[in-house]
């Protein structure tokens, strides 16, 4: 599928290339567009013209805006197929992760808000008690979805989402896969301190390579 013409902006290029490379730890300048990544990408059929190689090309051409918000960044399932097959060992899933952090820091609306809500809710719930409570996690996630749909008057979506989750919940209860007990880490202080540090630490780069390779 042909995509829009990519425009080369030399003045913008270096900054975005440097930032993505430092934060993801991936040497994207090694990409020679062989497209083995594109051939193996399981969500490639759904990301329009954006395949891992094209995402890399977008960054190399300095198109920050497109790189931060496209279907691949939000549809990537982190299966690591692209990176495993890349002859130059570029792990594009680390790049989509990095672009997610960057788009969040720039307060951009996530292209797939449900994906962002899912991962955020997971981390909040997991760090609340130290162990993930599936009911708390899904409750948080659905609250975020409901709120987002509510302020946009999307009542039908609220109904559909609630019904789908209620159906799954009932099915899981029936099959004894739902557990209502609460598990909690006894010594939460370590985790709380690490969480605080994580929020404070800002961009993490892969630049300190204590290993040689």
């Amino acid at each position: 599928m042909a995509g829009p013409v990519l425009e080369f902006k030399p003045e913008d290029t270096q900054a975005v290339v440097d930032e993505v490379m430092a934060r993801s730890g991936q040497n994207i300048t090694a990409c020679y567009q062989c497209r083995r990544c594109a051939a193996g990408c399981p969500v490639g059929e759904e990301t329009g013209y954006v395949t891992p190689d094209r995402l890399i090309r977008m960054i190399l051409l300095g198109d920050r805006e497109q790189a931060l918000s496209n279907e691949l960044v939000w549809k990537c399932v982190s299966c690591y197929t692209c990176g495993t097959r890349c002859p130059n060992e570029i792990q594009t899933a680390k790049i989509t992760e990095t672009l997610k952090y960057m788009s969040k820091e720039e307060h951009l609306d996530p292209l797939l808000p449900k994906v962002a809500a899912f991962h955020k809710s997971f981390c909040t719930a997991a760090n609340h008690l130290g162990r993930l409570n599936e009911i708390e996690f899904m409750g948080l996630y659905e609250m975020k979805n409901t709120f987002r749909n509510l302020i946009r008057f999307k009542f039908k979506e609220i109904y559909n989402e609630t019904m789908a989750q209620a159906k799954l919940g009932m099915m899981m209860t029936k099959k004894k896969r739902m557990h209502f007990g609460i598990e909690k880490v006894k010594h939460l202080s370590d985790l709380k301190r690490l969480l605080k540090k994580a929020k404070r630490s800002g961009p993490l780069t892969e630049s300190d390579k204590s290993r040689s390779t």
Partner: protein, 291 residues
């Protein structure tokens, strides 16, 4: 033989059956699983998609606990937890600044020198030594499983040592062949089931699962076997919805590897909690007179 054991959140919640089966089956082979004291969530893929520091810090606390216990080997049946711990240990080894920053907050410091194993790394040597076959009370005759590894068992975002073939792993096949089953060669064993997309991007996940089902059925499989609780839940709980949308036309049980080992050892469906499946998992075993 005593090994440290990290169940992870899923094995204490929606996949409790996997926890019970793992303890039962490994116990039968003389392996004592020593559950980590006061373990915490590994962060799964969500931490790495939200905050990179957290993605290493959460598993690091658990690694510190294992090291403190004095055990040098850790088994993690859940593929997501296994992948996260392995990656965290690798990243701590390659980034001293990060390691110091994390250790500063940990009451049980992490050195990063334990051996982290998937359940297959415990099982395969037991096949090679003949211990598994010794414990089998019956052969799994008639069982034609499509062994499904998913993403996280063999593919990692960093260069960590992979104990099996990346694109065509054989660990589950080795175990099941030793028990008399006939695992099939097929093309989708390491393809993605959609993982968390089943919840947040359902159509994408259903399409991915349909390909896995279509290939397994075309090859003549009569069940799936997996080691990953996330893959198990996806292929099982969303199977009906996916079958209707893609006109699959038949139901397939999705077993955990430990479930079939348990059956071969002569354990009852109650002990193994085989009734906790969405797609009927008892019928096939009865039909083949395995239970």
């Amino acid at each position: 033989m005593e090994i440290a054991y990290y169940p992870g959140c899923t094995l204490h919640a929606s996949s409790r059956l996997y926890d019970a089966q793992t303890k039962l089956v490994l116990g039968e082979m003389g392996i004592t699983l020593n559950e980590l004291e006061d373990w915490n969530c590994c962060g799964a893929t969500s931490a790495s998609k939200t905050n990179d520091f957290l993605a290493v810090a959460m598993p690091a606390r658990n690694l510190g606990i294992v090291e403190d216990s004095g055990l040098s080997e850790l088994v993690i049946p859940c593929s997501a937890c296994y992948s996260r711990m392995l990656v965290a240990q690798h990243r701590l080894a390659s980034n001293n600044t990060l390691k110091d920053e994390i250790n500063a907050e940990l009451s049980k410091k992490v050195k990063g020198d334990i051996r982290i194993m998937s359940i297959l790394e415990v099982l395969v040597p037991k096949v090679e030594s003949g211990e598994l076959a010794e414990k089998a009370a019956k052969l799994l005759k008639g069982l034609k499983p499509a062994c499904y590894y998913g993403c996280l068992q063999t593919r990692f975002p960093y260069n960590v040592p992979v104990p099996d073939d990346v694109e065509n792993p054989q660990g589950m096949e080795i175990v099941l062949k030793a028990l008399g089953a006939k695992p099939l060669d097929w093309s989708y064993k390491t393809d993605c089931c959609g993982a968390s997309a089943t919840v947040n991007d359902t159509d994408t996940a259903l399409r991915l699962m349909s390909k896995i089902f279509e290939d397994a059925i075309a090859r003549g499989a009569n069940c799936f076997v997996t080691t990953c609780p996330m893959c198990q839940l996806n292929l099982d709980a969303y199977q009906k919805q996916m079958s209707q949308k893609y006109d699959i036309g038949r139901s397939m049980p999705v077993y955990f590897i430990t479930e079939l080992i348990g059956v071969a050892m002569g354990k009852s469906p109650e002990e193994l909690q085989i009734d906790r499946h969405f797609a009927d998992a008892i019928g096939l075993l009865k039909e083949l007179e395995l239970i």
